[in-house]
């Protein structure tokens, strides 16, 4: 059996200037977003609060094993506030220490999931202003995501239209545990806008969602929730292909964020096989599912699967294609991957460069 490489690599980094596709900015105080809401919604939040499908406000459905909902224990800024709320400390601990040229912000806040959809749209607009004001404005290495209230497609398109000329936004952020499967036509206006503007849609695994974390309901343990992340992204991929989204929008770019990727080969093998047998059920799906997978989907790497035998991971990388994977840290969360020491497989310099930088530079138009 091949011995896994567990020692720390001695070299600083083999790649100059990493692109990190998953950085989570945080509010420096719980009600910071209120400062970005119009008075009408500020008053509403004060009197009625923000209601989401999550049972308790201000908490996640599962307690995490470290303080502060699963943050890196060393990520609390010395000057106070929660992890990733202090730009100076984020610049030092993430961008400088990890040699990151660009970080794509993925705000995880309740906007897209508020029951009151008008409030949800206002919260998303506030999140977008806040990202620019606190992070992507003062720090050009950080790029923002256009947060949308995806259940209201018309309002989502309006928000995309409002933001698209600001080049500090490089993708549209939509959560995967939507009210209906992501391929449904209610979401198509969003895909039309994304394709029209050439903006990728990033679907980040989220503790937020209208649906329980597994198809058979809420699981007992955080350990289960953590791995249920890939279920929701498998649903996204299958639904979008089988509903015909990519026939309608062939240039649409989808990034599946923080759901792992080792599940992809087996899922696509099955989709291809069933499509060959049953394609009459979905005659609008004109090509093998694997062809859409190769053209329309990208995956961020964190959390990287770590098999006992490293060679197995290499086989999966080869199958998926190193042109589809984009490195991510998930800073400041506990399962953070450090670009200097993650990915314990032998890659060629070109493959490393593609995964750690080039694919994202091209997809997000960073240079």
């Amino acid at each position: 059996m091949e011995t896994p490489v567990l020692e720390r690599s001695s070299e600083k980094s083999q790649i100059q200037g990493v692109v990190d596709c998953d950085v989570h900015p945080a509010f420096s105080k719980p009600d910071q977003l209120l400062d970005y809401l119009p008075e009408r919604w500020k008053t509403h939040v004060r009197d009625f609060a923000v209601r989401t499908a999550n049972p308790l406000l201000g908490t996640l459905p599962y307690p995490r094993m470290t303080p502060g909902n699963g943050m890196r224990r060393d990520s609390w800024p010395p000057n106070g506030g929660p992890p990733a709320s202090d730009l100076a400390f984020l610049q030092q601990q993430l961008l400088e220490e990890c040699n990151i040229d660009y970080g794509i912000l993925q705000p995880l806040a309740a906007g897209s999931m508020a029951f009151n959809q008008e409030l949800g749209a206002a919260l998303c607009a506030a999140l977008n202003d806040w990202q620019i004001d606190k992070f992507a404005g003062p720090e050009p290495r950080l790029k923002a995501s256009i947060c949308i209230s995806q259940e209201d497609a018309k309002e989502s398109v309006a928000e995309i239209d409002r933001r698209v000329t600001d080049r500090r936004f490089v993708q549209i952020a939509m959560p995967p545990r939507t009210l209906e499967p992501c391929g449904r036509r209610r979401y198509w206006p969003i895909y039309e806008a994304a394709e029209h503007y050439g903006l990728p849609i990033g679907l980040h695994t989220s503790a937020f969602g209208y649906r329980p974390n597994t198809p058979s309901g809420w699981s007992s343990f955080y350990l289960e929730e953590h791995y249920a992340a890939s279920n929701s992204l498998q649903t996204v991929l299958s639904s979008m292909i089988l509903e015909g989204v990519f026939e309608q929008f062939p240039k649409l770019k989808i990034v599946l964020v923080e759901g792992g990727f080792s599940w992809l080969p087996s899922l696509v093998w099955r989709l291809d096989r069933e499509w060959k047998r049953m394609r009459d059920e979905v005659p609008h799906v004109k090509r093998k599912p694997s062809e859409y997978v190769r053209e329309n989907f990208w995956y961020t790497t964190q959390p990287i699967e770590e098999p006992e035998n490293n060679r197995h991971l290499l086989d999966i990388l080869r199958w998926i294609g190193t042109d589809r994977l984009m490195f991510s840290t998930d800073y400041p969360h506990w399962d953070f991957d450090d670009p200097r020491f993650a990915f314990k497989v032998p890659l060629t310099p070109a493959e490393r460069s593609a995964i750690f930088r080039d694919n994202a530079v091209e997809l997000f138009g960073l240079k």
């Binding site: 567990l6 720390r8 890196r72």
Partner: protein
């Protein structure tokens, strides 16, 4: 078979790395000794030391949380023991036994180096061959001494 030249072993040196009141119970201190980063922990008054870097992705183990050993013979029955003698990596939560440096999840292959630590009176340190570059030793105090 050729004989490989053996490097001469140098005698272990003892380094004074902290005053005992510097590291509170449950807390840690990162020390640098002979080019190595070492995390020294106070486990309920007993001092233990391991290499600072997690062998998985390199996080600073001195920033980890001290935890206990959780065991269960059957679902629903949990035993806790060895309070505070394991450190949980601040990133991915891998646990290391502070006494042996072995990881709990994969003790045969994944471990950090552990170091011998003792507490000595200042009076003794002043007489002995201890290295204490950064401390002004007072004969009335107690010090954490690390063997390397």
């Amino acid at each position: 078979m050729s004989t490989t030249p053996t490097r001469e072993k140098r005698p272990p040196a003892r380094h004074v790395v902290a005053r005992v009141d510097e590291i509170a119970p449950g807390a840690s201190k990162l020390v640098h000794v002979e080019g190595r980063d070492i995390a020294v922990f106070n486990v309920a008054g007993e001092f233990m030391a391991i290499a600072n870097r997690c062998p998985h992705e390199g996080a600073d183990l001195c920033k980890g949380k001290l935890t206990s050993l959780f065991e269960s013979d059957e679902p629903g029955v949990v035993k806790m023991s060895r309070h505070g003698e394991l450190v949980r990596c601040p990133w991915h939560g891998w646990e290391f036994d502070l006494r042996s440096g072995k990881s709990w999840c994969d003790p045969a292959r994944t471990r950090v180096k552990s170091y011998d630590v003792a507490v000595e009176h200042g009076a003794r340190l002043v007489e002995g061959t201890y290295r204490a570059e950064v401390f002004k030793i007072s004969v009335d105090d107690e010090y954490v001494v690390l063997e390397l």
